[in-house]
């Protein structure tokens, strides 16, 4: 909203859109900004912008390492390091620091940038990018670098961008979602369709992604308003939510895909699962479930699952050590029939039958939790072992509540599904080190390493047990930042030692989901999902918890 509207369709216009989106808090205003851009910018420029918003661009040669090399040629490495540490974002640091030289080249178009980045080899790319950086202003440089590194972080999800496109033609986001996987940048066909200039693109995707149905979080005191008889409960597992889709393409080949909750195709990282799912005899189906690692010893920790995530290829060692598994929650289609309009209990019956017939050791059903009253369910949630669960108790994250009559409705509809997570554990720990954060918390000391006491009396010392970088409010963050700056001991590069001892130190109440043994940490313990629950300005450091108390918790599990 600050700068004049660019009339030329160049990189600056795209940069100005990104800039405005980055500061615009309102969803509807974001949509209007994007729709307006798509209406007024020609193909293929707008299509590449859409690809940027939906994560559809990949430039194998334009990596952060290349950007680092470019800035290293023009600036002092120490000054760059300190600046990057402060700003917390590589693209922005370079955009702000870049000492531009007059090159005389006009700013490039977005299409030129995308096509050049895709086709130019490593050797010539650096020179090209440096020339662009010289030609663009600070905002243009920032947009270019964000685009190259693929992380825009402007508060626009792929879903929102698709909604903006749908808005152009009075369609819904699910209409765009339906045809999405059969299209590719710069999406000329899609824009032609939403603008009414061409028919709906042909989608013969045999294994399409279906927008998942999500649950609202609920607390114990809110349950009283609900009728227990109207709900079914099932265990909520600590993995990642996925959708498996299997179908036959035009040449009768069976296609199997695994989609993340956001619709990303993650099949490449899970050849073991894909192989198990791609059965010629089972016909087309789509199911919703939790992706887990499961060995003969039971379900692995989330940490183990993480070894399998975000990989383009996967070694046979990883496949053997961390076999992937789906614990199914729902059946969305079977033999071409869309089951989503059916009530949950009917889908559940179909799911149980399907999984039993499928008979794969990599696929099972998440068991239901029987209950008549909320008190019974509360007991089961607190103590799954006493309520029919004999194994994998550590992987239970809570319970899910689903209305018996709920249809499978994409998005997060109100009043149908609830997640009721287990209460977190808490520990009082002492702040030991702090580092500046990235993204939203950039330039504040916001990544905190904390420790608990080991030994007694004179030998009492703090041993680090984890790191937390959220859980606090903006006001608390400002207070913590000031505390760190005013209580700094040693400095180790970007890391500040925060004064800590029995008589001087800040106690943080840390909430966490669980503990794992770890050989990577001196304490021998790794905390799962730690966050700062409260700042205990009142509590003397010597009264913080001990390592022994955490070890006891680990044994109890």
């Amino acid at each position: 909203m600050t700068d004049a509207t660019h009339t030329s369709a160049d990189m600056n216009r795209f940069a100005s859109l990104l800039d405005r989106l980055a500061y615009e808090p309102g969803r509807n205003n974001k949509l209007r900004l994007m729709t307006n851009y798509f209406r007024n910018v020609p193909d293929p420029e707008r299509g590449y912008a859409l690809a940027a918003f939906t994560g559809g661009l990949d430039f194998p040669n334009a990596k952060p390492a290349l950007i680092r090399a470019l800035i290293a040629e023009r600036t002092d490495p120490v000054l760059f390091g300190l600046s990057y540490d402060y700003v917390g974002d590589l693209s922005e640091t370079v955009a702000l620091m870049w000492p531009a030289r007059d090159g005389g080249e006009p700013p490039p178009t977005l299409a030129e940038v995308v096509e050049t980045l895709r086709t130019t080899g490593k050797l010539n790319l650096g020179k090209k990018i440096a020339a662009w950086l010289d030609a663009l202003d600070e905002t243009g440089r920032w947009a270019l670098l964000k685009l190259m590194t693929g992380a825009l972080r402007i508060g626009v999800s792929a879903r929102l961008a698709k909604t903006a496109v749908a808005d152009m033609g009075g369609l819904g986001p699910n209409d765009v979602e339906e045809v999405w996987n059969s299209l590719s940048p710069p999406y000329g066909e899609l824009f032609a369709w939403v603008e009414g200039r061409a028919p709906k693109p042909d989608t013969s995707d045999p294994a399409p992604f279906r927008t998942p149905m999500l649950a609202h979080a609920i607390e114990e005191h809110e349950l009283a308003a609900l009728e227990p008889a109207e709900f079914v409960a099932e265990w909520k597992w600590d993995g990642i939510r996925v959708q498996a889709a299997v179908g036959r393409d035009a040449s009768a080949r069976t296609v199997a895909r695994l989609h993340s909750r956001a619709g990303e195709d993650i099949s490449g990282a899970f050849p073991d699962l894909i192989e198990a799912l791609r059965r010629d005899d089972s016909g087309a189906f789509a199911l919703d479930g939790e992706l887990l690692v499961r060995t003969e010893a039971g379900i692995g920790t989330f940490n183990e699952l993480q070894q399998r995530l975000n990989r383009k290829t996967v070694s046979s060692l990883l496949l053997a050590r961390y076999p992937a598994h789906i614990r199914a929650y729902d059946l969305l289609s079977e033999h071409e029939a869309d089951l989503r309009p059916l009530p949950f209990v009917e889908r559940r019956a179909r799911l149980e039958g399907f999984v039993a017939r499928f008979g794969s050791e990599r696929l099972d059903v998440s068991p239901l939790v029987p209950f008549a009253t909320w008190e019974e369910l509360a007991q089961a949630r607190r103590d799954p072992a006493a309520h029919g669960v004999s194994e994998d108790i550590a992987a239970i994250e809570g319970v899910m509540l689903k209305r018996r009559d709920s249809i499978y409705e994409p998005g997060r509809p109100k009043g149908l599904w609830y997640k009721w997570k287990r209460d977190p554990h808490t520990v009082d720990a002492v702040l030991m080190y702090a580092q500046r954060g990235h993204g939203k918390r950039s330039s504040f000391y916001s990544d905190f390493t904390f420790g608990v006491w080991e030994g007694e009396g004179e030998a009492m010392s703090l041993v680090p047990v984890g790191k937390a970088y959220f859980g606090f409010t903006d006001t608390e963050l400002a207070q913590l930042d000031r505390y760190v700056r005013n209580n700094t001991g040693n400095r180790f590069g970007p890391v500040r030692e925060v004064l800590h001892g029995p008589d001087h130190g800040l106690v943080l109440e840390i909430a966490f989901e669980g503990l794992n043994r770890s050989t990577r940490h001196r304490s021998g313990i790794a905390m799962r999902f730690p966050r700062i629950a409260r700042i205990r300005w009142d509590k003397p450091a010597r009264e913080a918890d001990t390592l022994a108390s955490l070890e006891k918790l680990l044994k109890d599990r």
Binding site: M1, T2, D3, A4, A22, Y23, E24, P25, T75, D76, V78, L79, F80, L82, S83, Y86, V87, G88, D89, E92, T93, L96, M97, W142, G439, K440, R441, S442, S443, F444, D474, A478, R482, R485, N486, T488, R491
Partner: protein, 346 residues
């Protein structure tokens, strides 16, 4: 004589043992020399204060006439001898009355610059470089990512946004001392003739600037009942008021913040700012570096801010350089706001 014998860093601030005075002490002392009126530098409760007339006035506006025991005004560029040490105040260009303090003895001159800037500012006397042996500098924006825009260009952005959204109020967060009045003065220079509205927390200091002869045009304090009628107007308030209940009554306000921190996107987003204006009363990176070289000093001490980068740069230039790690400065954002904000009445 070693420079640290003339001025020694202590937990209360820089101390001159020979003449028994502190510069900008962070706790009450017997004798204080004060560079400027921001509350992290000018604190109440000292037994005796030496500062420019304007700085003493500003302290009186903020803390009342009894803000210090004895108050002695000093003119710029007029040397004064205290127990064999010569002190001279020179303009710092930061806010009205702001000064650098040159401390000399036996041929050794240390200049404590306080906070300063080099950019033009219609509300105060420009910074004058002073040759010295040791230059004591701030480093609030001591990183090469901080390159402030021209304040005039930022105000053009504001006026363009106002033209684009005539139905919305434009609410600009500014520090009550210096920034607010500079923003007003530049808005006037740009030819804007409508009244400028201010939050009550800005009133006293703005009146003081106007009485001192700074041209600010018609300034109106926002009356509670009028807030909903201020569509299309420009309203200045303390930084945290832009997210206050107070701000909600304005017609669909565009929230803006005038600060050097706005150069970093995450900072603007953390504050929920829609229209960031990169306007600062501190020197940016290029000006910090240029100023150090201009003083001809052989040694640099960095008081507060992003000292590591500036110290590194100075050493690359062949200068001796050290961070002082003084605690208690550079929090003007926090301290200014706490003391000057009126409680929201609705």
């Amino acid at each position: 004589m070693q420079p640290t014998e003339l001025l020694t860093p202590t937990p209360a601030g820089l101390f001159c043992p020979a003449a028994n005075f502190y510069i900008d002490p962070t706790r009450p002392v017997a004798r204080a020399l004060i560079t400027h009126g921001h509350s992290d530098h000018a604190r109440p409760g000292h037994e005796a204060v030496l500062a420019t007339r304007e700085t003493l006035d500003i302290m009186a506006v903020r803390y009342g006439a009894q803000s210090a025991g004895a108050q002695q005004p000093i003119d710029l560029a007029q040397p004064l001898e205290i127990d064999g040490v010569t002190v001279t105040f020179h303009p710092a260009g930061h806010v009205l009355g702001s000064a650098q303090i040159a401390v000399e003895r036996a041929g050794l001159r240390v200049v404590v610059s306080g906070d300063y800037k080099r950019a033009t500012d219609p509300t105060c006397i420009p910074f004058a470089p002073v040759r010295c042996d040791v230059f004591v500098t701030e480093a609030t924006f001591g990183l090469p990512v901080f390159r402030h825009a021209r304040a005039e260009a930022e105000i053009e952005k504001l006026l363009a946004s106002r033209a684009l959204f005539p139905e919305r109020a434009h609410l600009i967060g500014t520090y009550p001392l210096g920034k607010a009045q500079r923003v007003m003065a530049i808005i006037r220079q740009a030819g804007y003739g409508r009244p400028i509205y201010i939050h009550g927390a800005l009133e006293k200091l703005t009146n003081y600037y106007a009485e001192s002869g700074v041209e600010l045009g018609e300034i109106r304090k926002v009356a509670a009942a009028d807030r909903s009628k201020l569509a299309g107007e420009i309203i200045l308030c303390p930084p945290e008021a832009i997210k206050d209940l107070w701000a909600r009554r304005f017609p669909d306000p565009v929230t803006s913040l005038a600060s050097g921190w706005m150069r970093v996107r995450a900072r603007a987003r953390q504050r929920g700012v829609e229209l960031p204006l990169v306007i600062s009363d501190h020197a940016d990176w290029d000006d910090l570096c240029a100023t150090i070289l201009e003083t001809g000093c052989s040694e640099v001490w960095v008081t507060h801010g992003e000292e590591d980068a500036l110290v590194h740069w100075a050493r690359l230039q062949g200068l001796k350089a050290a961070p002082l790690h003084l605690v208690g400065y550079g929090d003007d954002e926090a301290t200014e706001s706490v003391e000057t904000t009126e409680p929201a009445h609705d």
